[in-house]
């Protein structure tokens, strides 16, 4: 199966990626070839197989006690932010 330009535009929107006019035909072609390639899986009989989400059997995500284990690092962390004001991340206006 091959993807159309409209398919790729929709995927790019869902992924929040701006794709330029120059990139678009490359992605239409390469994503189609990848989808075709992985389509091989559809011919495999997996009737009663339980999907595998974790590579180690019997391992579960651990929980930890809900206690404070970190100190406040917000200044250090926000040093990496593109725009910060009064300890807040600044983005373009969302609500008019």
């Amino acid at each position: 199966m091959s993807l159309t330009r409209q398919d790729v535009e929709k995927i790019a929107h869902l992924a929040r990626l701006a794709i330029t006019e120059r990139e678009m035909p490359v992605y239409v072609t390469s994503l189609s070839s990848i989808v075709n390639f992985v389509d091989e899986l559809s011919s495999i009989d997996t009737g009663n197989v339980v999907p595998m989400a974790h590579p180690l059997d019997g391992q579960h995500q651990r929980l930890r006690p809900d206690t404070v284990s970190e100190s406040d690092h917000h200044e250090k962390y926000q040093a990496n932010a593109p725009r910060v004001q009064a300890g807040l991340y600044v983005v373009p206006r969302v609500i008019e």
């Binding site: 990626l17 794709i19 390639f37 389509d39 899986l41 590579p55 990496n80 983005v91 969302v94």
Partner: protein, 484 residues
């Protein structure tokens, strides 16, 4: 020369005070300055910090402390967060990112006295098999600088092979340690999923990612892995299983070790590559191992399975790069949607965007069952095949890669061809198994690797088998011309 010595030899010289860590560090820093411009393996050199760590290591040695990694220089893949040092993950997105904390791998090695010389180039966000997707440009293979070093840990591989450090760290999601190790003549170890902490290791595909090492011998790898491995409460998938004394177990006799030859790996394998693997297996047999053929019928499905599972996880993991909290932000966004889309569109390179979109597609409404769920089911079939094989044999063996290093530019425009490079390595990631690549000969002057893979937590067996093999052969001792 100092840079050709093993970790054990360096540790002895440091302990005997025949060389200081500061001298050793200066020696490697000088090599980086002289040789790295031709390789582009190291993208950040932390000379000042290295010399300070070296001086601290010398003080510890003077105070009577001994440690196999104490005072010995290494290079970290730039996927590991290093407090106060740029951690780019090979991406424009993180070109300006100064990590605010250390990865557990970095902390553990630093505590053991390891000296970080700098950060290695890599495929962007570890997505690639040639180190050509890096924002910082391709890495060159020291064995032939017109060839790729493999990827995604291509900078780590080139740096260790060119003796720019005693060893380097890497990560392996689909072969990213073993494949570059094979293409540069190194011993690369991808441990069991959960064996080494992923805390502070920038995420690509969380059910597959695992940290490991690229060394010049199995004995060196045993020393480093012993320090890197172990339970970490900061990684929710870290496994609380005691770490064996890998170096002490290297000499465990091979007698009676059953090695399975993966039938599927030899079908269609280029004859000169196949001959080297067969030759290596003869050596292991002469050392006391038994070999028998085993079949993993679903293994040929590992590449399509991986290219559903890994992009799906990547599309989720990389959604954190939003241009708001850290990383690249586009100029003059007109609204929030424009900020997200252009920051991500401009901050990510072509292959990363391709994987994010593949993942978004396979997870999107109407396709989830057909692709993602299907792939997770096939993943179990592949894992069950391995389990059945390990009822018959202790380890399985085969080639690490289909071919030796290929030319820079040869495959970069054809993603599916590039993806097939990892055909022999991906199975271990899907099943969470440990894998190792050891040098086993040359084709047209370029190194090739023998891959060994075992059940969960069988690293000691893999290292021991490789160590015995390396005592009987000298492929791992060869150095690329100009870097001896």
């Amino acid at each position: 020369m100092l840079h050709n010595l093993s970790i054990g030899e360096l540790a002895d010289r440091l302990a005997e005070k025949r060389v200081s860590s500061v001298e050793l560090t200066r020696h490697f820093l000088a090599r980086i300055e002289r040789l790295n411009p031709g390789l582009n393996a190291v993208i950040t050199v932390t000379a000042e910090r290295a010399l300070a760590s070296a001086a601290a290591a010398d003080a510890r040695i003077a105070a009577g402390e001994r440690g196999r990694l104490l005072g010995i220089p290494l290079i970290h893949k730039d996927i590991f967060c290093t407090d106060g040092v740029r951690t780019s993950c090979g991406s424009r997105m993180l070109d300006n990112f100064i990590a605010p904390y250390d990865a557990t791998v970095v902390t553990r090695l630093e505590r053991a006295g390891a000296v970080m010389l700098g950060k290695a180039n890599m495929d962007e966000f570890a997505m690639g098999s040639s180190n050509e997707t890096s924002y910082y440009g391709p890495v060159r293979n020291p064995w032939d600088t017109s060839k790729v070093p493999g990827g995604s840990s291509g900078g780590s591989a080139a740096a260790s092979a060119a003796r720019l450090a005693a060893y380097s760290t890497g990560t392996d999601t689909g072969g990213s340690i073993r494949q570059p190790a094979a293409l540069t003549g190194l011993t690369g170890v991808k441990p069991t999923y959960g064996r080494v902490s992923r805390y502070g290791m920038i995420a690509f595909a969380s059910s597959l990612d695992q940290a490991g090492v690229l060394c010049r011998s199995a004995a060196d790898a045993a020393e480093v892995l012993k320090v890197m491995a172990g339970f970490d409460p900061k990684d929710s998938t870290s496994v609380d299983v005691p770490v064996p004394d890998y170096p002490a177990l290297l000499d465990t006799p091979l007698r009676g070790l059953k090695i399975g030859l993966l039938r599927e790996f030899f079908e269609g394998l280029e004859s000169r590559n196949a001959a080297l693997i067969q030759e290596a297996l003869k050596v292991l047999k002469a050392l006391g191992a038994e070999t028998l053929e085993v079949s993993l019928p679903h293994l040929p499905l590992s590449v399509p399975t991986y290219y559903v599972v890994a992009p799906a996880e990547c599309s989720s993991n990389l959604s954190r790069y939003d241009g708001v909290r850290f990383g690249y932000r586009c100029e003059a966004p007109k609204d929030l949607m424009d900020l997200y889309k252009r920051s991500r569109g401009e901050g990510f390179g072509a292959e990363v965007k391709r994987r994010i979109m593949t993942g978004t597609y396979v997870l999107s409404a109407g396709y989830f069952d057909a692709y993602y769920l299907k792939a997770q089911k096939v993943r179990r079939l592949i894992t069950d095949d391995f389990r059945a094989a390990f009822d018959q044999v202790d380890l399985v063996a085969g080639p690490t890669t289909p071919t030796p290093a290929f030319a820079i530019g040869a495959k970069i425009d054809d993603p599916v061809t590039m993806y097939l490079n990892d055909i022999y390595t991906i199975g271990a990631n899907l099943a969470g198994l440990p894998g190792l690549s050891t040098p086993c000969g040359f084709v047209d002057g370029l190194p090739l690797g023998l891959q060994l893979c075992g059940p969960h937590f069988s690293e000691a067996k893999l290292l021991s088998a490789a160590h015995h093999y390396q005592r009987a052969t000298d492929w791992h001792l060869r150095a690329p011309g100009g870097y001896e």
